[in-house]
Amino acid sequence: MSAQKVVVVGAGASGLSAAWWLARSGVSVTVLDKGIVGWEASGRNGGGCSHYQSPLFKEEQRLWPQMDELLGYPTEFSPERIVMAVTPRQLDQYHYIAEMNNRLGHRVDLLDASQVREAVPLAGDNCLGGIHYRFGGHANPHRSVQAYAWALQDLGGQIVQHSPVTGFQVASGTVTAVESTSGTYECDAVVIAAGPQTGQLAAQVGIDLPLANARAEMIVTEPAPMMKLGGVDGNGLYGRQTLRGNLAYGGGPHEWVEFGDLGPETKPSTPLTRNLARRLAELFPGAAHLNVIRSWAGVIEMTPDGRPVIDRRENVTVCTMSGVGFGLSPASGHAVSDLVLEGRCSFTDIEKLGLSRFDGIEADWRISKGWLPL
């Protein structure tokens, strides 16, 4: 029996994309969220769409250029990226990344320093060269997540905000309903894509999913003159020049954190702002005079190997993306929708993103890795 009625837990990029794909297949979808659409890491990340390491890469690349049209709302997707080095070690790493991608058939060009400076006018004399991804790009996270939500509503899907899940009703091994503070929702299948809450929700239906949560930070400047290509990384930073011109960048050390079942109540930033600013001023000497106008932090759940989990047990599909959820969301939603409806991903092998790789993991794996709050 194919699922007619699906409840998705989590209105972030992964959950909403899955819901949207399901709705496109004619499924009746309800998305429950503890808070607001795209309010966690989905709405406050670097906006990158260039995940060559993922089995979902080809689908990510196929879909992003079409997303505005498919969703009916702007995502601010802009194609291609440059990664530029300001130290010899960075250049060596980037050249390795270029070589690796070219071997895999993803075109990456090498740029010398003058070519970088031509494409990236904010770069300075300290630039040693870089690489140019002829794929990928960046989009506006918050706008894109809202676009998924609205597109889902336009297809008849329902989104219930401020409605934390409180339990699951299970009959003969399958989930028959999801209980939340706003009521009980009957279903044929469930998707759990609830970011840092995914682990404890999955545990309630007997699925072991090892996750640890980290806090990461970003800063944003006032607008800079528009560069030809806004997706410029390097010097230990990821980020983008937004279509407004602001430079929004993150990177650097993370902090392992813990919080209650409803997620963190606050997401403070720290003086890491100053270290990010230094890196950004080094990356873009031409922007060193620009004002930093905000900093922010987000919380990201990570699996022990830092790779996503997309897998299904009975009628429960779990999706946790280990920090690459936003960019891969067009493709992860497709994969999740396939798992819910067909039991397997129709467009690529995602076997190695399965839950079974963590079978038998030590209960104290976080201790041995040092992934613990201070």
């Binding site: 709302y73 990664v83 895999l104 050390p253 600013a277 790779r307 041995s368 040092g370």
Partner: protein
């Protein structure tokens, strides 16, 4: 049980202790902050008092921290002279110097950081400071925030041109900076603030054409009203601005609701002041809404106290929230959909209520069917959500010019009281600071060595097809999980 491992790319141990530590740090060197510093110094504690004035000409140009409205003279560009001028105009600092308080002018406090929920990595509680050249962190046992209150601008046609400004900005330019460029002013609002502003302007030799009051009577206290009358300043009740007209240099005239036009160069908004709680707010300090004290006011915690109007305006029993609402309704009545609400991002009232993105994006048909009203059907009002979709409040003034009004509009659209709409977040740095100034040019070796672009987990970037092949080992060797050190 396993031994605790070490994650070299986690923040652990990467923040060094601040080089300076004080028993008490006071932010804001007005009379209230100085009094607090003096009191602390008199019992023998080590006290630092910082004041951000004079702020740079560039910040004045973006209405930070007050609504200067482009009416500062070019004198504000001369930093050294300004420091002298401002210092001369703060005679109350003298006893603080004598008591041994360390005083730093032209020094901005831009962030307060403490360990607490989600942060355990800080070497104690610190405040981030900056001058024109660099930034640094200072440890403290007790912080007194005495940052005062800032202007509350409200939109009306023509408000987004030089010459429309705030009462607090005018007072600072007249009293502290000696750098006000206008001559003929109209004051909007007749509560205590408006009356005091008119009296100050008159005393400084400016021509005060009128005080405008939308209600039928003068709102300020009778003593001030009597002084205003004695000074020959006219209060026009039941009259509001309809449009500020002007040219290249800004305001030249103000059209009134009674049909008259006043030739003036400055329109001074004296409708209200907002306690500057952003340092406390960005540090997740507690706050509450008090309509009689100017809106959101901070609540003391163990390590942070407040002095002066930062703690809330003096409670005279006057309901500032409803007065502001009345003014917004009156001025809003003159606004068209094309009236700019967010000056930084050039977003209009229609853009805001239509929940539309900035003009550099297309507005496809589905999007045009959305609005603030449809968003409010999905959930309670949240200004941060509206901010991210419309960009109102996202600009270089850090939302100072429009955030209060956007919150009022949101409350009105949602049919709620202002107190029921969550305050839009404040985030450090609470003053715009250049990258090269806020940058930590002396960061710890541990920070430098442990830096990673994203998490630093050796397996995360291995291409899927390479997993379990010799390429995986090569990937680890070349990148080690660390992308772009």
């Amino acid at each position: 049980m396993s031994q605790r491992g070490h994650d070299p790319h986690a923040i652990d141990g990467k923040f060094p202790a601040p080089s300076h530590h004080y028993d008490v740090v006071v932010i804001g060197g007005g009379p209230s902050g100085t009094e607090a510093a003096l009191k602390a110094a008199q019992v023998g504690t080590k006290v630092l008092l910082v004041d951000e004035n004079p702020v740079s000409g560039a910040l004045i140009g973006t209405d930070v921290p007050f609504f200067f409205g482009g009416r500062a003279t070019t004198a504000v560009q001369n930093r050294e002279r300004m420091v002298e001028t401002v210092f001369m105009n703060m005679p109350w600092l003298e006893p603080a110097f004598e008591a041994g308080v360390e005083v730093q002018l032209a020094t901005t406090a831009w962030g307060v950081y403490r360990n607490g929920p989600l942060v355990g990595s800080l070497p104690g509680q610190v405040v981030g400071l900056a001058d024109a050249e660099r930034s640094w962190l200072v440890g403290f046992d007790k912080l007194v925030i005495a940052t005062g209150a800032r202007d509350l601008p409200l939109a009306f046609p023509g408000w987004n041109q030089p010459g429309v400004m705030g009462a607090k900005a005018l007072a600072m330019l007249l009293e502290r900076y000696d750098a006000f460029a206008g001559r003929r002013i109209v004051v909007v609002g007749s509560h205590d603030l408006g009356l005091e502003t008119a009296l100050l302007a008159k005393a400084k030799g400016l021509e005060v054409l009128a005080i405008l009051e939308l209600r039928n009577t003068v709102q300020g206290n009778t003593d001030l009203a009597a002084q205003v009358a004695a000074a020959g300043i006219q209060v026009r009740c039941g009259v509001t601005p309809v449009e500020a007209k002007g040219g290249l240099d800004g305001v030249e005239a103000l059209v009134l609701s009674d049909g008259e036009t006043l030739a003036c160069d400055s329109v001074v908004m004296g409708v209200g002041l907002v306690p500057m709680i952003e340092l406390n707010d960005a540090a997740d300090g507690p706050r509450r809404f008090d309509a009689n004290r100017g809106g959101w006011v901070p609540e003391e915690s163990e390590a942070i106290a407040f002095a002066g109007s930062c703690a809330g305006l003096v409670n005279t029993g006057f309901d500032h929230a409803s007065y502001r609402q009345d003014w917004m309704d009156a001025l809003g009545g003159a606004c068209g959909g094309d009236t700019i609400i967010c000056q930084c991002e050039e977003m209009t009232l229609a853009d805001l209520t239509g929940l539309q993105p900035p003009r550099y994006l297309e507005r496809p048909p589905a999007l045009q069917k959305r609005s603030l009203k449809t968003l409010l059907q999905d959930g309670p009002p949240n200004q941060d959500q509206v901010k991210r979709l419309t960009r109102t409040g996202m600009g270089q003034c850090q939302g100072r010019r429009c955030r209060d009004q956007v919150a009022m509009i949101l409350a009105a659209e949602a049919g709620k009281n202002l107190a029921e709409v969550p305050l839009a977040t404040h985030r450090a740095p609470v003053r715009p600071l250049p990258l090269k100034v806020i940058a930590d040019w002396e960061e710890s070796e541990a920070m430098r060595a442990g830096w990673d672009v994203w998490m630093g987990i050796p397996t995360q970037w291995v291409p899927y097809a390479d997993i379990g092949t010799p390429y995986e080992e090569e990937n680890r060797r070349r990148l080690g999980g660390a992308m772009a050190l």
